[in-house]
């Protein structure tokens, strides 16, 4: 069964969702009543994005790569940090004897510390992701 057979029942809905450009990749001439230069460029870039000209495709690829880089970097940092803890405790059991104010350090490290750290990492990612998106919009809109 080819992809097109499989997708058939939803074809019209898919068309509505993606827009007709998805099926007919042809370039349209755009004539604007409002012909300030800035607006013209913004519209043209958006149409380039939708029609996936080489420029548009490059822009989107760059955006996706940036976002993925931020996400992967932060996820690896957190995952490595989390995965180092059990093996540290396993190899150096004497860590369990250290105490602050009568509470063993491992209890503080596992019971309290992770939550602010996770929130902090999330906050950093949100800021980075929103900055990438702002840059992208500015580039399109300039």
């Amino acid at each position: 069964m080819s992809r097109h057979d499989a997708g058939k029942p939803e074809e019209s809905a898919r068309e509505a969702w993606l827009g007709e450009q998805a099926r007919k990749p042809r370039r349209r001439r755009v004539v604007l009543a409002d012909s300030t230069k800035a607006r013209g460029k913004a519209l043209r870039t958006i149409i380039e994005l939708e029609e996936q000209t080489s420029v548009g495709e490059k822009l989107v690829r760059d955006l996706i790569r940036q976002q993925l880089k931020s996400a992967f970097g932060l996820a690896f940092a957190v995952l490595i940090g989390m995965c180092l803890l059990p093996i540290t405790f396993y190899l150096f059991p004497q860590v369990g004897d250290l105490k602050i104010l009568g509470i063993p350090i491992p209890w503080l490290v596992l019971g309290l510390a992770p939550f602010p750290i996770l929130y902090g990492v999330g906050w950093v990612f949100r800021r980075q992701a929103e900055r990438h998106e702002r840059d992208f919009v500015n580039m399109v809109d300039r």
Binding site: A22, E50, L63, V78, G102
Partner: protein, 599 residues
């Protein structure tokens, strides 16, 4: 008796508020988008509270404290993983998932891969995960109500089902959003208030009972205790010899009167009664640390426990982003940016909550060691207030905790019912509001039927299994679908089948092994460490082999998933399929104006 009345009135109050908020929320709900995604108009902070309310199930509210009581410090990986899962969701899924404009997880799969086959497979796994998660909720609801009030076990599950189904019938997603958001704050209060009071009580009476936090040796009964083994066989391990009185069967032999137990493992048959004297060592259910030293120190269980910990980190970190009832809530945000803010806010709300069960778990080690004998540690949070404060104050605190637990059952179950009913009504039925209502009734009936028929497993075990299932099916589908152009529907289906099939097999094997002597190795009971990478690899390899099947419009789709919201690329698929003519016209209009929205 007094305590029962307090608890019952608190539970009734929660039920009444749930109905009221559900009614308020569903007054204006009348279209399919209302029922599926609450018309995509939920602000980030409210949605975050609703997600947290839905996510903090009985496994979190009762289970985490119970696991801390039983397993000590190593149990803290559960709350860490449960929270870290939202970080992974925020990093990889939240915003693009919302921008896809899909209204269910199978709908996303079809939108991204352009095939109804992958949609059908996704539907199957959504229903699997939903039911696997829903059944233990209903069963623990029954058990909790029995513990508090002595009503029969089927009654609790039934009453939760009825409340949830009636609420969801009224307004679907719109009805439950307000309810779940309210229930988060209710649960936070219900666990924070008792924790503060009990902690002060503990500080005021430091010499009461044993001191396992600083002591070496084993945990001991603070006072004389009589314990009866309930419906199942229990294996306990004794580390320090003790003498006790037994009426019943030990290791299959009858015993009646004083018995001496040396070091070793003893098997207790149902109905056996044991009388312990004050200060005698507590036999601990097999598989949990017996000495205080092992309980307070991390990773004392050897290599297999280390692997289990890693598997748990893996399953919870990646499993959360595959839970359909969590994901569907992200579709209710207005745009991708709001979805991201929602996930971030959830991190904060969950971190706030999970401090408290840990404290309660440690306290119950001091005051409720008898739960270690029969392993029913889920009851710790419910029993602790009255044990520590044996007067009216303790009864009221107990009632607050009971109400919180009941809210946990209600909010999680309603989220699950909405997500399963949404998928069933749009994929198997035509997707009108009437179909959604029928699907709700159907889901409720199946869930309560299974909850009554199936034997009661450990709630945390079943929930851990549904995390493993979600991590091995929808996590690779979403991550690869959102970030990799090469994914094809054939690859996705193969990955779903391999990942999901292996987890379900592991589940069956571990159930069989739990009845025939626990012979299954750690990677069977915690399979995520193996199944998740295999599912990812299958999807990638098969997609590469079937490169021809990749959707021709993959670039447009990825643009839609990642383009910033102000550019106006979001097209909501529920409007396209179920919207009124007027809404469709508005969407077409938006599309034509597209660019106009940037300025």
């Amino acid at each position: 008796m007094n305590a029962t009345i307090w608890s019952l009135s608190a539970i009734l109050a929660v039920a009444a508020v749930t109905f009221l908020l559900g009614y308020v929320g569903s007054r204006k709900a009348n279209t399919t988008p209302d029922f599926l995604v609450a018309r995509r108009a939920i602000p980030a902070t409210r949605n975050a509270a609703a997600i947290s309310g839905e996510y903090l199930s009985a496994a979190s509210f009762l289970g985490v404290a119970g696991l801390v009581l039983k397993d000590g410090i190593d149990a803290l990986w559960y709350p860490i993983g449960f929270t870290a899962g939202y970080l992974a969701l925020l990093l990889f899924v939240a915003a693009p998932l919302r921008r896809s404009g899909a209204y269910t997880l199978p709908d996303f799969a079809e939108a991204r891969l352009g095939s109804v086959n992958v949609r059908h497979f996704s539907t199957f796994f959504v229903v699997c995960i939903g039911v696997l998660y829903l059944v233990p909720q209903l069963q623990s609801a029954g058990l909790t109500l029995t513990t508090i009030t002595g009503l029969p076990a089927w009654f609790g599950g039934l009453i939760v089902t009825v409340i949830v189904v009636v609420n969801v019938l009224g307004g679907g997603m719109r009805a439950i959003t307000l309810v779940q958001a309210f229930q988060y704050w209710g649960k936070l209060f219900a666990i924070a208030a008792p924790t503060f009071v009990l902690f002060v009580v503990f500080l005021a009476s430091p010499d009461r009972g044993t001191q396992p936090l600083s002591d070496e040796g084993v945990v001991r009964f603070p006072q004389a205790e009589t314990i009866t083994v309930a419906e199942q066989d229990v294996k306990v391990r004794v580390d320090e010899p003790l003498t006790l009185k037994v009426h019943g069967q030990i290791d299959g032999r009858n015993a009646d009167g004083p018995v001496f137990w040396g070091r070793g493992v003893y098997e207790l048959s149902p109905g056996t009664t044991m009388e312990f004297t004050a200060g005698s060592p507590v036999p601990v259910v097999e598989g949990s640390p017996t000495t205080n030293r092992d309980w307070t120190r991390p990773q004392t269980g050897g290599l297999s426990d280390l692997i289990k910990t890693y598997s748990l980190i893996f399953a919870t970190f990646l499993g959360t982003m595959g839970l359909p009832h969590v994901l569907v809530r992200f579709y209710t945000n207005p745009d991708g940016k709001a979805a991201r803010r929602t996930a971030l806010h959830v991190l904060y709300l969950l971190g706030l909550f999970y401090i408290f069960p840990t404290v309660l778990g440690v306290l119950s080690r001091l005051y409720l060691p008898q739960l270690l004998v029969n392993g029913k540690t889920d009851a710790a949070v419910l029993m602790l207030p009255e044990t520590m404060v044996p007067n009216l104050g303790g009864q009221i605190l107990g009632a607050i905790v009971a109400a919180g637990a009941f809210a946990a059952f209600l909010s999680t179950s309603s989220g699950l019912v909405v997500s399963v009913a949404g998928v069933v009504s749009t994929d198997i039925m035509p997707g009108k509001v009437r179909d959604f209502r029928w699907a709700t009734v159907f889901t409720g009936l199946v869930a309560i039927g299974l909850a009554l028929l199936l034997p009661r497993a450990d709630a945390s075990l079943t929930v851990a299994m549904s995390f493993a299932l979600a991590a091995s099916t929808f996590c690779p589908l979403l991550v690869l679908g959102i970030w990799w152009r090469g994914l094809t529907w054939v690859g996705a289906v193969c990955g779903l089948v391999v990942g999901g099939g292996m987890v379900i097999t592991a589940q069956v094997v571990s159930v069989v092994s739990s009845y025939t002597g626990r012979w299954a190795p750690a990677f069977i009971t915690q399979p995520a460490l193996i199944t998740v990478p295999l599912a990812f690899m299958t999807m990638i390899v098969v997609s590469k082999a079937t490169r021809r099947r990749a959707p021709a419009d993959v670039n447009q789709i990825l643009l839609r998933l990642h383009a910033p919201d102000p550019l106006g690329f979001i097209r909501d698929r529920d409007i396209a399929r179920f919207g009124t003519a007027e809404e469709k016209a508005r969407m077409a209009e938006d599309k034509r104006r597209g660019a106009g929205r940037t300025r």
